[in-house]
């Protein structure tokens, strides 16, 4: 049975086909103004990579903040369930999922069947989200993908206690004026961020294995600090941006 999952996020949309526990194809495009159209486009792109027609897809499950706007979905599910399912599909041993997205950060406790049993999300303030690091990368005039590796070279991280993204940015500006090396500033920023994320994790309880998904999962700097804090290595899927859609597809395949 061929099933599809589609994740309409605030920035990117991902469509993915699944059959007999195998990913057949997927697409990853930017979310446009019209969520329905974007979803349709993502589906078509994923279809263009396979040799079966659209109506061969038996069930479609939508997730992501634009999920309610996907007209052709048979069912809609929240991101939390989908991230749990997706992570469980990739790593059956997962018990805790940390999704560090651009706009929010979720910590999810997962039962042995990949169902979420508890979750917490950050609120109201962007500290502890991927956006925090994007803004800091801007302030440091560095490409986002470079900040992770660079921070690893720091041997004397600066303490940054401003959580507010805007003030932290100002703090960074001042540090640069004082001629502090960027690697040390970054190491400080990653620590500041991981403090926030760690307290989120502790609310649901950290149980082995921990899977980290979302944009920040690509930032080796943050991941290293997190692993220091939790005391064991985290699992990071190659397909990080697909996990949501993958989870949706898994749900579509159930029963």
């Amino acid at each position: 049975m061929i099933v599809a999952g589609i994740d309409v996020g605030s920035r990117t949309t991902c469509a993915l086909f699944l059959a007999e526990g195998k990913i057949l194809s997927y697409s990853l495009i930017f979310t446009g103004a019209d969520s329905a159209a974007t979803a349709r486009r993502a589906m078509d792109e994923a279809l263009s990579k396979v040799d079966f027609p659209g109506d061969a897809v038996e069930r479609i499950v939508a997730t992501g903040y634009g999920r309610i706007l996907v007209p052709f979905a048979h069912k809609i599910i929240s991101e939390i369930s989908c991230h749990a399912k997706g992570a469980h599909f990739l790593f059956p041993s997962v018990r805790t999922v940390l999704d560090m997205g651009g706009q929010d950060c979720k910590a999810i406790r997962v039962d042995p069947h990949g169902n979420p049993s508890d979750f917490v999300m950050n609120d109201k303030c962007a500290a502890g989200t991927g956006r925090f690091l994007e803004v800091m990368a801007e302030a440091l005039r560095l490409p986002l993908e470079e900040i992770g590796p660079l921070s690893l070279h720091s041997d004397q991280p600066i303490t940054i206690n401003s959580f507010c993204t805007v003030f932290a940015k100002a703090e960074v500006g001042l540090l640069m004026r004082e001629g502090i090396p960027k690697k040390d500033i970054l190491a400080g920023l990653h620590r500041a961020l991981s403090v926030r994320i760690f307290s989120l994790l502790k609310k649901v309880g950290i149980e082995k294995d921990l899977v980290i998904t979302g944009g920040i999962a690509k930032n080796i700097g943050v991941v290293k600090v997190m692993e220091e804090k939790i005391g064991f290595p985290a699992l990071i899927p190659e397909e990080s941006p697909l996990v949501g859609a993958l989870g949706a597809a898994v749900v579509a395949g159930e029963r």
Binding site: N161, S162, A170, E171, S199
Partner: protein, 373 residues
């Protein structure tokens, strides 16, 4: 500065100081958050009352047990309790000084190793029936302590403790008086280091240390660095970070109206009354904090202090989520401004980064009131 360094080291190694005292004397240590605890009773029973302090920016894993929209100072203290830093306490006396503090009774009782927690209710209104009530509360408190000490607290011992505490209060007021001199022989940060240290030792120790200090300060040649004279009034400040920050910005803290400062020792206990009545009377009528009605006396007191110590301005730290002080602030600041005291409100979140964000504001404020234009 021989004896000053002693105060400093007490603050820095406060846990060791308490534990060492406990091991050497076999006495009992009681923690408290607030100055509404009639310590004389603990002291008379041979115990050591110490203030439970938080650690700026340290919140451990407290988020799992207390929401983030609550007093960061109480959360930091509780984090320390959860981490076992206060396991040496034989008891914790929680006053209903503010909502958050009274809630700490159940939190500490349920999740820390502190063997006993006593909730000491403190009336929100100063009047006759409140006094009678509080007098009864003190009887219960005395009973609780006697049970912990397994011994009676005699009126004689209580009288002695009251005398020691009163002498201690006198000495601190003498010390504060030195801040009126220009140039002052002691800095605001030093004074608050001293006060904080005396919250962590038996008061007879504090008394002898204070006597030495006063002598030494009198003989000081080097006058302390000057600065723009300001008064600090507002929420509880249980650490030196704020004071050193302010003086680093160019302020000279000449006086304060905070719970761990002048409010703590300002008024003596009347030694002519019966000891228990005297305690009830003193603690209920000592300089109130903002959650107590009526407030007029407090408002007047703040301006009196500002005048007496020749402050050029008033800085008001308001801890995040501190309801009573937050609500007070607009009126208090307005009154001070009307009476010729420029004011600066600082919203503090109990992190150093939070303070640094305010540096430009503080520096601007000091520059303006210094009249250097």
């Amino acid at each position: 500065m021989e004896s000053f360094n002693q105060f400093k080291s007490i603050v820095e190694s406060r846990h060791d100081v308490a534990v060492k005292w406990k091991n050497s004397t076999g006495g009992k240590v009681f923690g408290q958050f607030c100055r509404y605890v009639p310590e004389e009773l603990i002291h008379a029973g041979g115990g050591l009352p110490v203030f439970v302090l938080g650690q700026i920016g340290e919140f451990g894993n407290v988020d799992k047990f207390v929401q983030e929209n609550t007093c960061p100072y109480m959360r930091s203290c509780y984090a320390a309790g959860l981490a076992g830093e206060y396991d040496y306490l034989d008891g914790l006396v929680v006053t209903h000084a503010c909502d958050m503090m009274s809630k700490m009774h159940d939190f500490w009782r349920n999740r820390t190793k502190v063997p006993s927690v006593f909730l000491l209710d403190f009336p929100h209104k100063i009047n006759e029936s409140s006094l009678i009530y509080f007098r009864n509360v003190l009887d219960r408190f005395r009973g609780y302590l006697e049970e912990r000490f397994q011994a009676e607290i005699t009126d004689g011992a209580l009288k002695e403790s009251i005398q020691i505490y009163n002498e201690y209060r006198r000495l601190l007021r003498d010390l504060y008086a030195l801040r009126r001199r220009d140039p002052s022989p002691i800095s605001g940060l030093e004074i608050h280091t001293v006060v904080l240290a005396t919250l962590l030792v038996r008061k007879e120790v504090a008394v002898s240390l204070l006597k030495d200090l006063l002598k030494e300060v009198e003989e000081r040649r080097d006058s302390r660095p000057g600065g723009v004279p300001i008064l600090v009034t507002g929420t509880d400040v249980d650490n030196l970070v704020l004071y050193s920050f302010l003086e680093d910005c160019g302020a000279a803290i000449v006086a304060d109206d905070v719970c761990t400062g002048s409010r703590y020792f300002w008024k003596p206990v009347d030694e002519k009354l019966k000891p228990m009545d005297a305690l009830a009377e003193r603690y209920l009528n000592n300089i109130p904090c903002s959650r107590t009605s009526p407030s007029e006396e407090r408002y007047a007191h703040i301006q009196e202090l500002a005048r007496e110590f020749k402050a050029k301005g008033v800085i008001m730290p308001i801890m995040d989520f501190c309801d009573a002080h937050m609500f007070d602030a607009p009126y208090v600041l307005d009154q001070l401004n009307k009476n010729g005291f420029p004011t600066l409100k600082m919203e503090i979140d109990y992190t150093e980064g939070g303070l640094e964000q305010l540096r430009p504001n503080v520096e601007a404020f000091l520059e303006i009131i210094s009249g250097e234009e």
